[in-house]
Amino acid sequence: MNRKRILSAILWTGWLGMISAQEAGRLPASGNPASHAYSALGLPATRKVDVEWNRFYDHAGLGTILEKLHRAFPDLTRLYSVGKSVEGRDLWCLEVTAFKVGNCQRKPGMYIDGNIHGNEVQAGEVVAYTAWYLCHQYRQLAKVTDLLDRCVLYLVPTINPDGRDRWFHEAQTPHSSRSGLRPVDDDGDGRADEDDVDDLDGDGSIVQMRIRDPNGRWKPHPQFPDYFMVRAAPDEKGEYTLLGWEGLDNDGDGEVNEDPAGGYDMNRNWAWDWQPNYIQHGAMEYPFSLPETRALSEFIVSHPNIAAAQSYHNAGGMILRGPGREGGIIQPQDESVMQFIASRGEKMLPYYRSMVIWKDLYTVWGGEVDWLYGARGVVPYTTELWTSRNANRRADGEGRDEEVTFLQHVLLEEGLVQWHAFDHPTYGKVELGGTKKNWGRTPPSFLLEEECHRNMAFTLYHAEQMPRLAIPEIRLEKLDERLYKAWITVANDRVIPTRLEQDVRNHISPPDTVTVTGDQLKVLASGIVIDRFASRVTPSKRRPERLEIDAIPGMDVIRTQFLLSGSGTMRVAVDSAHGGIVTAERVLP
């Protein structure tokens, strides 16, 4: 019996061993799954540069992505630093366009940045993804090819690399490390940045501190006690007092965390509707007093072809446009263009809403998009990436049930730090707990890629709406021997005009021009056709060969008239700071 069993065990083992030997021989061949892939819509299955878009990259990581793209796509990219941060990190810009097609300095330009607030990290991934996508889809997708042939994009994934790296590499909350890192004396004690939050238990997260308190006004949520603290009803006893973020009184002044690193807002330091600190917290001493904003403003000013801009932030799912303050300037014509483009974005970005900053969010003095529009005549948006409406899949709000289901079952409680005891040197026995820094303002891994793609898609739509000029028609009429009337039509078949009303009114960019030249001809007079049916023409004042036009409106044409004498070839050139240059030729009959 016993021997039989042993024997059978041996036999069984041997047989099993044989099976596993056979199984080993039948494993799939090792190799690269990428060479066995079929494209899902969105991107070709084979990629020259492999990047995983389901995690975040620090400043060096984003730099590496740009560098790899630049090496893999040298004809589509230029990589340079726009300036340096307070701590000396480079503000890397990847310029993306088809460099072999046209004059890249004269193509309509779009400036795209992200992460002006250090903690709003996924903005960096959205910008880097845009670069990655465009490089891989050029000559694959007609729309991308057309865009890079015609336009140039200046992509700066992080314009606050100091804040970003601090958020990555130090214990933070979802909301901290928003500032840059120039030291600021927040509490006015003569010392700067001397009392920041502290990771008391060394778990890498800065969470809430609470203390049991029979007179406290807070209690755990009755249904989800592990997830939320709620206020006790006015007639109800609470159980806890909340003590703020995890931290110590580092400088021994009786206050906890009252002077953290930095202490300002780079998005309040731009030179339009700027107001000082006491009116607009975080504005700093004067507009562009910070090295980052200064460098970026100089970059933008030195690229007069920039006609559109996007600045990615988080969070809330908003497509924001100016003005940042009540009564701020926005010309009605320009507002309708911006409102329209944003309304397209609302359709492309589920749960995102198109909003006006001062009216629908809050007042911002000295914001980036206000400067871009007000001072530069550019069409800009700030997109607040990510909304928990997308996790909860509820457009109407942020339901507690859905949120807990998402945390508990979809994220398997990953974003939470369970309440646990800690002996605090100032407060005594407290409890630490709450959500981690990557919960709340940033999407989870599996939604990050969607976030990147959809937002890029809206920005590419925005880029596509930059003025596209053409000379669709030249009508020549012989009035006499060697005397001609030429009607030259200049068209812009995109939504954004060559110059916004704000630009025209304030002479921000030079006027567009239509120039007619020829070796054997002379322009006697020129003008703008104001009624093509009745042939009414407003004559130009001087220099008839170089006709100035305020703007070529969106989805519209401007008709010009030139009276010429002579013969031979007539050369026409339309020159617009935002619309680029188009030319045409005709031989006079």
């Binding site: 004396d185 006015g188 004690d189 003569g190 021994g252 002044d253 009786g254 030179a271 339009w272 700027w274 107001q275 000082p276 600190n277 006491y278 009116i279 001493e285 004067y286 507009p287 562009f288 007093s289 403003s297 000013v301 400067w371 007000g374 001072a375 304030n506 002479h507 921000i508 030079p510 001087r542 220099r543």
Partner: protein, 611 residues
């Protein structure tokens, strides 16, 4: 019983009368100036270096930046001790030449440095003052524009060397003036043109009046700057070289899209160097800026606090402006308020409205002010009084005492407005102020106005063109023969101003035993200076840090009160704030009082249990 001991009391009660009186007496008795003249950048640099070499203990010279035209933007610091020490004392900042044509203010600043340095050498009390205070002087913030005074042709400009596109044609600096008649000066051209804007002044054929259609004036002249139409756009000299007026380049009431104001606030190398310097010196309590803006010949209007953004100074700060306005007018010899106002985007307004400091501004000289000063003196002479303040050497004001009509005190551009607003308004009255000025120059500096002379203009062959009018810098820069007297008067005021800084002092701490080793400690912090430790605007903006009292001792021994106590503003002239503590003995306790603008005071006390 308990005994306590007092150590290291730093406050010296030697100055029982207000400091500004001391200062004025000390400095004004120093050797008078003579033969002052305007100096170009290299002479200015050489003189400053010489002062620094001669007074190594008190004068410190550093370039803040290099201008667009590669000239050093000099910072002179007057103070004894290390840079860190100088940075922690109550300080005055004098800014001159921020508008490029402010040669006079620049000359005053240079004379002030020299005077203060010499006085400090001769008098231990002045040296002592420079041990307790710091005086920063920026004698020429826009050295590039000032240089145009010394070049030929001489062309007046207020802006930097930054190329600008004044006429929005995409080109920069493409149509500047030319010295057509070769006299070395860029003056004006008047072109006979019925579509012009001017008619001759019937009372003074050299001057022009703006044609007023409502009066039936038919224009005779068009007024242009001397030169040709370089870019053939039928506009003459509409885009001259330069530049941004640095004193229009600051954020308060900044004028966007005005070519004088720059691309955005603080866009220029020079204005940024000035702003950064100012931010790095939070000890500066008083700023005085020479330039077009004024709040001294006329006290600015105030408004109740709380308006955001504010449109006027705060009511609580007005008395200080009023008082110093009086002092200024007395120092320069004016017997009444004249008309003065600020301009958009000035440095001085940024300093008050955004940085919360006491910020004074005035022209060092203007013909309008000079005429009023002359009148005041003539009036005083006629009344048989001798004006004590007008004993300084001055130019001869003869022939200027016959005018009784009040005249506008602003430039010719404002004359028409002033007359329009005035009573009567007959043809004779128009241009009265400019005629008065011309008369003053005819007497004191006739070269300031050039007679109109016909010139065959290459662009305007069919028209009569005459070149002449005001010489460059004539209306903004005092004639050199009046410069010594101007410097004396301005130095008198500046010296007075140094004595107006706030100054913190700690009175003798009061220690009362409560028994069982407990003590009540009472600290009284006094402001023995003139200005409060923070103006209302300094408190509102929170840019002037609150005065803090820090006890250096084991925290557990402080049973009531806090280790660091912040105080609200303490008024000057003896204003006082009290802080109380309950302390447990024994052991030493150091007390440190730090005021942002009023310096600091330190003391150590000891609580001892009596056996």
């Amino acid at each position: 019983m308990t005994r306590w001991r007092l150590r290291n009391c730093p406050f010296d009660s030697r100055y029982s009368s207000p400091l500004w009186l001391w200062m004025t007496v000390l400095i004004v008795t120093c050797a008078a100036l003579s033969g002052s003249d305007y100096v170009d950048h290299s002479k200015l640099s050489a003189q400053l270096r010489q002062f620094a070499d001669q007074h190594p203990q008190t004068v410190h010279l550093t370039p803040l930046a290099q201008s667009t035209g590669h000239r050093d933007l000099w910072l002179v610091e007057l103070g004894v001790g290390s840079e860190d020490e100088r940075k922690s004392r109550p300080a005055l900042l004098l800014v001159a030449g921020i508008e490029g044509n402010d040669l006079t203010g620049s000359a005053v600043a240079l004379a002030f440095v020299e005077r203060l340095a010499n006085s400090a050498d001769q008098d231990p009390v002045v040296r002592d003052l420079l041990r307790q205070n710091t005086v920063y002087v920026l004698p020429r913030v826009n050295p590039d524009a000032a240089e145009s005074y010394f070049l030929r042709p001489r062309q007046e400009r207020a802006g930097t060397s930054t190329p600008t596109d004044n006429d929005h044609d995409g080109l920069t600096d493409e149509d500047g003036p030319e010295d057509l008649n070769g006299d070395g000066l860029i003056t004006s051209m008047r072109v006979a043109d019925p579509d012009g804007e001017y008619v001759p002044d019937p009372n003074e054929p050299r001057l022009l009046l703006r044609a007023e259609k409502a009066r039936g004036d038919k224009a005779v002249w068009k007024l242009l700057t001397e030169g040709i139409d370089n870019d053939r756009d039928e506009q003459w000299n509409e885009d001259p070289p330069g530049g941004v007026n640095l004193n229009r380049n600051f954020p308060y009431r900044y004028a966007y899209f005005d070519h004088h104001s720059g691309l955005h606030p603080v866009s220029e190398i020079e204005s940024r160097a000035l702003a950064d310097f100012f931010v790095r010196r939070p000890n500066i309590a008083i700023v005085f800026t020479y330039g077009m803006a004024d709040n001294l010949i006329q006290t600015p209007k105030s408004e109740p606090g709380g308006k955001r953004p504010p449109t006027a100074i705060q009511e609580a700060d007005e008395p200080y402006y009023k008082e110093l306005g009086k002092v200024y007018r007395e120092a320069v010899g004016l017997n009444k308020e004249l008309t003065g106002a600020s301009e958009p985007g000035t440095f001085s307004d940024w300093v008050y409205f955004h940085r919360g400091r006491f910020s004074l501004a005035a022209k060092a000289w203007s013909p309008w002010m000079q005429i009023e000063i002359d009148k005041a003196r003539a009036g005083a002479d006629r009344d048989g009084k001798t004006n004590r303040l007008d004993t300084a050497k001055d130019s001869n004001p003869k022939g200027t005492n016959q005018v009784s009509t009040p005249v506008p005190t602003q430039g010719p551009g404002e004359t028409a407005k002033a007359v329009k607003d005035g009573p009567g308004g007959s043809a004779d009255k128009r241009g009265e102020s400019e005629r008065e000025i011309l008369k003053w120059f005819d007497t004191h500096a006739p070269e300031a106005y050039l007679p109109w002379k016909v010139f065959p203009h290459p662009d305007l062959t069919n028209r009569t063109v005459e070149i002449g009018g005001w010489a460059p810098f004539a209306l903004t820069t005092a004639p050199t023969n009046t410069l010594d007297a101007i410097c004396e008067k301005q130095i008198r005021f500046l010296t007075n101003l140094v004595g107006r800084l706030p100054r913190i002092a700690l009175r003798q701490p009061k220690i009362t035993p409560l028994g069982n080793g407990l003590f009540e400690l009472k600290l009284q912090i006094e402001n023995v200076g003139y200005l409060p430790t923070a103006l209302a605007q300094g408190t509102l903006t929170r840019e002037v840090l609150r005065t803090r009292v820090v006890l250096g001792m084991d925290e557990r021994r402080i049973l009531a009160g806090r280790k660091t106590t912040f105080l609200g503003p303490i008024a000057g002239s003896g204003g006082m704030e009290e802080v109380r503590y309950v302390i447990r003995s024994p052991g030493p306790c150091s007390i440190e009082v730090v005021s942002a603008l009023g310096g600091s005071a330190r003391q150590t006390i000891e609580f001892k249990e009596e056996q």
